[in-house]
């Protein structure tokens, strides 16, 4: 039973990690873009 547990946990880890890597790569890039845009708005005009 323990062997099966580790086997399926390994499969789940590899599938989850692959999916999350792709998803976070796309959405995280958008987060950076938005974060820098918000910070730019807060900057004094002469520094923009």
């Amino acid at each position: 039973m323990e062997v099966e547990f580790w086997k399926w946990l390994t499969v789940a880890a590899l599938v989850w990690y692959t999916t999350v890597t792709i998803y976070v790569s796309v959405r995280g890039g958008l987060d950076i873009k938005n974060m820098l845009a918000r910070l730019r708005e807060l900057m004094p005009d002469d520094q923009k």
Partner: protein, 496 residues
């Protein structure tokens, strides 16, 4: 003999170039201390997930998890499961982290000032920095060991490798603070994840699942799959790791820095729940690499006193050129994101809490940022010398959790009491800090001194760690109950 060639060197070089450019490019957005330390609290969920995952996984974590796999089989990855459960439950319920983020503080010690007074804030800052820096002290050497073995460098090049790594990381952290850390963490998350996944799939094509299971059976029996039946682990190890994991999720400054940098409490909690399962991957994937080393390397190849070297030895031997470059870039990414975040985190505590008494009048943002940068640089110098000097005894993961316990035990106790126990007070907090730091520090000292070395071995780091948590909790309860009695008595005698 390593398979590392000029192709791999080019991949690593390209990665380093892109990281440096990204790290330096956001420096213009750093106008205030708040931008430097918590990125202006503008971080959103997915960037938070990438940053937290990249920060909490460095070469040192990879080496320690693969060492656990090599030494204990699959059972060595149990820590990842307890870590994931702790992070998911805390994120889903908001236990402690909700009041912490709602308070709008920069560090956990700052929250304690509101409840326990400025002295407790200062002492909290001290144990946080002490535990954090000792913990981080072995990062560079472990990273250097990995790179030297995998890239086939001469052992004498370890110090140069460590210094170059550190200078590169310190440079963009000093310039861009948390903003640079977040942007580079994002890139590093991608490179690290692609590298780890590619190497794992490659290994599984070379070494069958049945071979991995069979070698664990052969070496560890049923204990290789069940931590409670494993001779080197046992219930005390699972309990100690569980306590450390929960306390780390609640108070480890690099973890809560993402919560505090989030744009609101809900976002911070979502970062926790979304990142939780990553901790299973963080321990299980390198543990598989360690087990693969156990199955592949001929006996006698790995030094008995350095089982952590097994995984890099395997990688240098069987991973082909091209993929090896991706692995090294991935591991460099993991290490750089961890080093930069840790340097910035301990800087925030030193500046915000330890130097607070010196800042009687408010400092200008320019002066604040200047001192933060100086502190980052000084931490870098400390790391270099400590990494070269400290002789590591025992396993890497055990060292990490024992040094972490110096502050995790007391800070977790103080945080829970601060948020949920109305009778908690400064006496209890002071007692918890003292008790929580005493056990792990005494253990580390005993481990290094010749007359007490055997005693430390007999006690074991697990029991020393559990004692720290129990001691801190008891001290909090006893101290908090005693203060009203003494204060009332002294007030009564004063009146008489």
């Amino acid at each position: 003999m390593s398979n590392f060639t000029w192709i791999d060197g080019s991949i690593v070089g390209l990665y380093l170039l892109v990281t440096m450019v990204a790290g330096f490019s956001v420096r213009k957005y750093v106008g205030k201390v708040e931008h430097f330390l918590v990125a202006g609290r503008e971080m959103d969920v997915y960037l938070g997930v990438a940053s937290l995952a990249a920060t909490e996984f460095g070469i040192v974590t990879c080496m320690s998890a693969s060492e656990l796999g090599y030494r204990h089989g699959f059972a060595g990855a149990t820590t990842g499961i307890t870590y994931a459960i702790a992070m998911f439950v805390v994120g889903a319920t908001g236990f402690c982290v909700k009041p912490l983020r709602d308070a709008g503080v920069v560090t956990i010690a700052e929250l304690f000032e509101q409840r326990f007074g400025p002295r407790i804030r200062w002492w909290s800052g001290l144990v946080i920095v002490l535990g954090g820096l000792l913990n981080m002290g072995i990062f560079l050497r472990t990273g250097g060991d990995f790179l030297v073995l995998v890239c086939g460098l001469k052992p004498g090049h370890l110090e140069i490798t460590m210094t170059v790594l550190l200078v590169g990381v310190a440079a963009y952290t000093i310039v861009g603070g948390m903003l640079s850390v977040l942007v580079t963490d994002f890139l590093q998350f991608i490179v690290m994840s692609v590298g780890m996944l590619a190497v794992t799939f490659f290994l599984l094509t070379q070494i069958s699942w049945e071979s991995l299971v069979s070698v664990v059976h052969e070496r560890h029996g049923v204990g290789g799959f069940n931590p409670f039946l494993n001779q080197g682990l046992g219930w005390q190890n699972v309990l100690f790791n569980g306590l450390v994991n929960l306390a780390a999720v609640l108070t480890w400054q690099t973890t809560i820095a993402r919560l505090l940098a989030a744009k609101d409490t809900r976002t911070g909690r979502r970062v926790y729940t979304a990142t939780a399962f990553f901790f299973v991957c963080q321990f299980l994937i390198p543990a598989l690499w360690g087990i693969a080393a156990l199955a592949t390397l001929p006996s006698g190849t790995v030094p008995v006193d350095k089982p952590a070297m097994a995984m890099p030895m395997l990688m240098s031997a069987i991973v082909p050129s091209g993929l090896l470059g991706l692995l090294v870039a991935g591991m460099l990414a993991a290490d750089m994101s961890t080093d930069s975040s840790y340097m910035l985190t301990w800087t925030s505590v030193i500046y915000n809490d330890l130097l607070a008494p010196l800042r009687k009048t408010a400092w200008s943002d320019r002066r604040g940022i200047f001192w933060n940068r100086i502190i980052v640089a000084l931490i870098g110098v400390f790391l270099l010398f400590y990494g070269l000097w400290y002789p590591l005894e025992g396993g890497i993961w055990q060292y990490l959790i024992v040094t972490g316990t110096i502050y995790l035990s007391s800070m977790a106790t103080c945080l829970v009491a601060c948020c949920y126990w109305k009778d908690a007070n400064s006496w209890g907090a002071a007692g918890a800090i003292l008790a929580g730091a005493t056990f792990p520090l005494a253990y580390l000292l005993a481990e290094q001194l010749e007359p007490t070395k055997e005693l430390a071995k007999t006690i074991g780091s697990d029991y020393a760690g559990i004692a720290a948590f129990v001691g801190a909790a008891l001290a909090m309860i006893i101290g908090s109950l005693l203060k009203p009695m003494f204060v009332t008595n002294s007030q009564a005698s004063g009146e008489a």
